[in-house]
Amino acid sequence: MTSSNKPSSMRIDKKNSKGCVIKRGNPIQITINDTQVTAYDGELVASVLLAEGIRTFHSKHKTGRPSGIYCGMGVCYECLVTINGIEKVRACQTQVENGMVIKTTGEKNP
């Protein structure tokens, strides 16, 4: 499985008007929906998903409506993903770790 090659990166690498540029942590390997992807130590799961062009993190119970990041602070519970087999974990509150397995799927029906 090769790392997906996004045509235009969602990671900010340019300097801003104050001359600041963020230097990320070391690259690590994680899996998103069975595809191996390079992420960086210190990134949130939500960030990596957005960087990979994934905006729908899960589908809602009852209506199946798509949902992704909204508040970015762990308050709204919209950014739920399955991490290492554990369902409904907030992507904006979880840092990536080497070998992490992430799935963005809808809810199983009870």
Binding site: R11, K18, I86
Partner: protein, 474 residues
């Protein structure tokens, strides 16, 4: 054996950190707890340890003395820990905070707890507000400044207040094509004159605001007052936004609608205090119109109606970092005084100096609240099929039906429809329910009361509560 300390502080943002430093200075043993990996809260949010930036932000330079100040033996800093409940222990007559996280005491007790849990973005529902690609101003800041990630390529900002300018400037700097910044309030300059006294002594803030405005001007980003996003459309994500001009009451003026294609909508309608613990403990709560929610009643030393429970900063009333820090100082001094660790004279001395500064900050935040209130018309953008409770997927139509059954309080709506029974326990939808109820019953929002919250205040796997606990945070 339950670990004891002199003071527990929940929330290591500016307010919590200042309270800890002040308390330690007076000689108290403090435990300072935060759910994030690093202290700083939202206002002084630090980059992840694994990241670095070639230039320190001036905001974090400001915070440096606080970050240094909390590194002392009498302040025990616990990060990445969830306080899932607060209980009163009648046996020890102390307040008990229950914690979840790695390597931490499951319970801590102290005669006093200062709650400094801050605030989060307030939500206004409109058709499409729940599409992926609609994010809050807070989320935009987290992504851009804290993670170096673009939320999208082409964005519009809609909301009210100066925080929007900061978010817009950061997005522009990051390379996002910003179509415009929509401020729903109008006549700001005229209104601003009435509040000149509020601006006195706030030059550093004015300077900050001018910097953001400069960024936007340079990038030729239109700033429109009296406009707002009224709907968002797309197949499973943001694709098109419709904006409209608003009349004085905030109602969209028919015929002024315009649409644009984009991928990101940043909404910034102000902040909502995190009042979970106060409602959990049954503190006396009072309705506050600017925030649209109930806030804990506080005495002049920021103690709630429950002796030993203090509320400082944005979690008690939106007022900004500076005010939070001043309140933190006063509350810490009062805790010390109440536990006989300082004399009345010393206490009076400590607090007298601060009260003037607090008055000034209150004037400023009152001005902001009045200038940047949410005009009434914006509460009616949602259509019957618009989802109001996102966790449980409850629509406006279902809520209206519940009110037609005779619901008199927001808890009645919750019980009938399940709004507020999901993961977020109503953090997103509670103030919206309050508005809908008030509007449909033609009653003041205060009469609809507020939602209860139950422990754990964030969902925790049951495994944690069994004998062999091994908490998983997420």
């Amino acid at each position: 054996m339950i670990e004891k300390t002199d003071l527990i502080i929940i929330g290591a943002g500016p307010g919590g950190m200042q309270a800890a430093v002040s308390a330690a200075q007076i000689g108290l043993q403090v435990v300072l707890i935060d759910g994030n990996p690093l202290p700083g809260g939202q206002y002084y949010k630090q980059l992840p340890l694994q990241f670095s930036v070639n230039q320190n932000s001036c905001l974090l330079k400001e915070a440096a003395s606080l970050f240094d100040g909390i590194q002392q033996p009498s302040i025990r800093l616990l990060t990445n820990k969830l306080v899932w409940g607060i209980f009163y222990n009648p046996k020890t007559k102390l307040w008990q905070a229950t914690l979840q996280g790695d390597n931490c005491p499951p319970r801590l007790e102290a005669p006093a707890i200062i709650i400094a849990t801050g605030a989060y973005d307030r939500s206004i529902p409109f058709p499409g507000w729940d599409l992926p690609g609609v994010i809050t101003a807070g989320a935009a800041q987290v992504l851009v400044k804290y993670q170096g990630i673009l939320p999208g390529k082409r964005a519009i900002l809609s909301g009210t207040g100066p925080l929007q300018l900061a978010a817009a400037a950061n997005l522009v700097d990051a390379g996002v094509e910003v179509l415009g910044v929509l401020e729903c309030n109008q006549g700001l300059i005229q209104k601003g004159f009435l509040h000149l006294t509020g601006i006195l002594g706030q030059w550093s803030r004015m300077k900050e605001g001018f910097q953001y405005a400069k960024s936007l001007l340079r990038a030729r980003v239109p700033y429109k007052t009296g406009w707002s996003v009224i709907r968002v459309d797309g197949e499973g994500k943001v694709e098109e936004v419709t904006i409209a001009q608003l009349d004085k009451e905030g109602n969209p003026i028919p015929g002024t609608e315009r649409s644009n294609s984009l991928d990101t909508v940043v909404v910034g309608y102000g902040l909502t205090p995190s009042t979970e613990f106060f409602r959990l403990l049954d503190c006396e709560m009072i309705y506050s119109k600017p925030e649209g929610v109930f806030l804990p009643k506080r005495d002049p030393f920021f103690q709630t109606s429950l002796p030993g429970i203090y509320a400082i900063g944005d979690c008690a009333k939106i007022g900004g970092a500076k005010l939070a820090m001043l309140e933190g100082e006063v509350a810490a001094a009062h805790v010390a005084y109440q536990s006989n660790r300082t004399t009345k004279d010393k206490f009076d001395q400590m607090t007298a100096k601060i009260h003037q500064a607090i008055k000034r900050e209150n004037r400023f935040s009152k001005m902001l609240a009045e200038l940047f209130a949410i005009p009434h018309g914006l509460f009616s953008l949602a259509k019957p099929e618009t989802i109001i409770c996102r966790c449980e997927q409850i629509s406006l139509a279902e809520i209206r039906t519940a009110i037609s059954y005779g619901a008199q309080t927001v808890t009645d709506i919750k019980n009938i429809t399940r709004s507020g029974m999901g993961f977020c326990q109503g953090r997103t939808c509670a103030s919206i329910l309050s508005q809908i109820l008030a509007s449909q019953r033609n009653c003041p929002p205060a009469e609809g009361y507020y939602l209860n919250i139950r422990p754990p205040i964030h969902a925790v796997p049951i495994e944690y509560f069994t004998e062999s606990s091994n908490g998983v945070q997420g």
